[in-house]
């Protein structure tokens, strides 16, 4: 067997994984136009992330398949197999560890938070739109968030009820309900796990921030559909303008803030650019197909020999 064909497929998959995690994702973070189609953009992000993981996980099985005959005879083949084994095994271990750590830490924090919330939060049903599991906490700072999970809670402060009009409150609640309903937390958790599992040089915080922003944009749209774009926009500005002082500490934002991006996206007319939609779908499919194509191609080639 020629030496080239032994290491090429493995090297190809590793290179693909590196490309998909570093330059491709970096370029995607800069493609702000994707934000106009937040749902599709999240699909593309998942496709690319998944393709990178599949590439790394496929390295070992593929190397073994290609060299199933020469493994015991040529030292090079053995070397490649060992490298592939290390890559795949370390990726598996890292993913499992990260999944466990992130998952348990999130759930522990949320459970503790929920328990305290049950002590100080009040139920509230004087809204025209019932929000299940809504809790109101006594605090002058206008704020809203959700504690995601199977036993989720939507939390707003009395300060928010005082400072925002009913349409704005409706918009905020619809926004939070969208998070809870669509389980955006799982999406963010998935990317947090991948992020944590990646070797440090391959990580970038921008990806997590972008995924989180896209989830917010999606929820904003849901809020705008329920309560109108204007109330959604007003709620954004009102809550941004009245943040608790502690919130602004340490939030180093050199670029345009998430609130600004979200408001701008809300202002744009929602006309759908079908060419962009088609491009994004094609892009997502290509990302998933590439590592699979490499695997199929290599097995077919070496099987035919």
């Amino acid at each position: 067997m020629p030496p080239l064909s032994t290491w090429l497929p493995v090297a190809g998959l590793v290179l693909l994984a590196v490309l998909l995690t570093w330059p491709v994702q970096k370029a995607m973070v800069r493609r702000h136009i994707f934000r106009r189609e937040p749902l599709l953009a999240l699909l593309v992000w998942q496709a690319v992330a998944l393709a990178a993981v599949v590439s790394l996980l496929a390295a070992l099985p593929l190397a073994l398949w290609v060299m199933r005959e020469s493994l015991t005879t040529t030292p090079l083949a053995l070397g490649v197999a060992v490298v592939a084994a290390v890559i795949t095994a370390s990726m598996v271990v890292r993913l499992l560890l990260a999944g466990h750590q992130v998952g348990t830490s999130l759930r522990r924090t949320r459970r503790a938070h929920r328990e305290l919330l049950e002590l100080v939060g009040h139920e509230f049903d004087e809204l025209d739109q019932p929000t299940p599991q809504l809790r109101v906490i006594q605090h002058p700072a206008p704020t809203a968030y959700c504690v995601p999970g199977l036993t989720h809670r939507v939390v707003i402060s009395t300060g928010m009820l005082e400072q925002l009009g009913p349409p704005e409150v409706r918009a905020v609640l619809a926004h939070e309900r969208a998070h809870v309903r669509a389980r955006h937390d799982l999406l963010v958790e998935f990317f947090t796990v991948l992020h944590t599992a990646m070797p440090k040089p391959l990580r970038h915080e921008d990806v997590l921030a972008e995924v989180r922003l896209l989830a917010e944009v999606l929820a904003d749209r849901s809020g705008a559909r329920t309560a109108g774009r204007l109330p959604m926009g007003r709620a954004l500005v009102a809550l941004a303008g009245a943040q608790h002082p502690a919130a602004t500490l340490g939030a180093a934002s050199d670029s345009v803030s998430a609130a600004q991006v979200r408001l701008r996206l809300l202002t744009e007319d929602g006309r759908r650019d079908w060419i962009m939609v088609a491009t994004m779908i094609g892009y997502a499919m290509l990302a998933v197909a590439t590592p699979l194509a490499v695997v199929v191609w290599v097995t077919a080639l070496s099987g035919a020999r």
Partner: protein, 134 residues
């Protein structure tokens, strides 16, 4: 039924904490015994003395109440006020800002905004309002 039992216990925790929070804050010796709390709660619902005791025990372990021996009984006091717990919850919601966006347990409506941003936001909102009107 595990879930409904847990919900009931959560309810009871709250009822107990409400009684402890009703104590005079300015009086450092103000405290309640299991009997005090049991008597107060059993006016509203049927509840066993031992259940109240168990829940108070749990609340102690969670660090929400402290207790001191008074003869043969324990006297209970809340560790923090409900306002303090609320403030703690709000801080937790924003904690991930400092921890470099890693483990965001909560999904916050809005993270933060600087004064310069607010002006920009207001301008963008005015634009949206103009469009909606026109």
């Amino acid at each position: 039924m595990k879930i409904s039992r847990r919900a009931r216990l959560g309810d009871l925790e709250r009822a107990i904490m409400d009684r402890l929070w009703a104590l005079d804050e300015t009086d450092p010796t103000a405290s309640l015994t299991v009997r005090d709390i049991h008597e107060s709660i059993s006016q509203e619902r049927d509840i066993a003395y031992t259940t109240v005791m168990t829940v108070l025990d749990r609340l102690t372990k969670k660090g929400l109440v402290t207790r001191e021996r008074d003869g043969r009984a324990w006297r209970y006091q809340p560790v923090s006020t409900s306002e303090e717990i609320t403030a703690q919850l709000l801080r937790e919601g924003l904690d991930h800002i400092e921890s470099s966006d890693r483990k965001a347990a909560m999904m916050h409506f809005l993270d933060s905004a600087s004064p310069e941003e607010i002006d920009d936001l207001k301008a963008a909102l005015a634009e949206l309002e103009r469009r909606q009107a026109g």
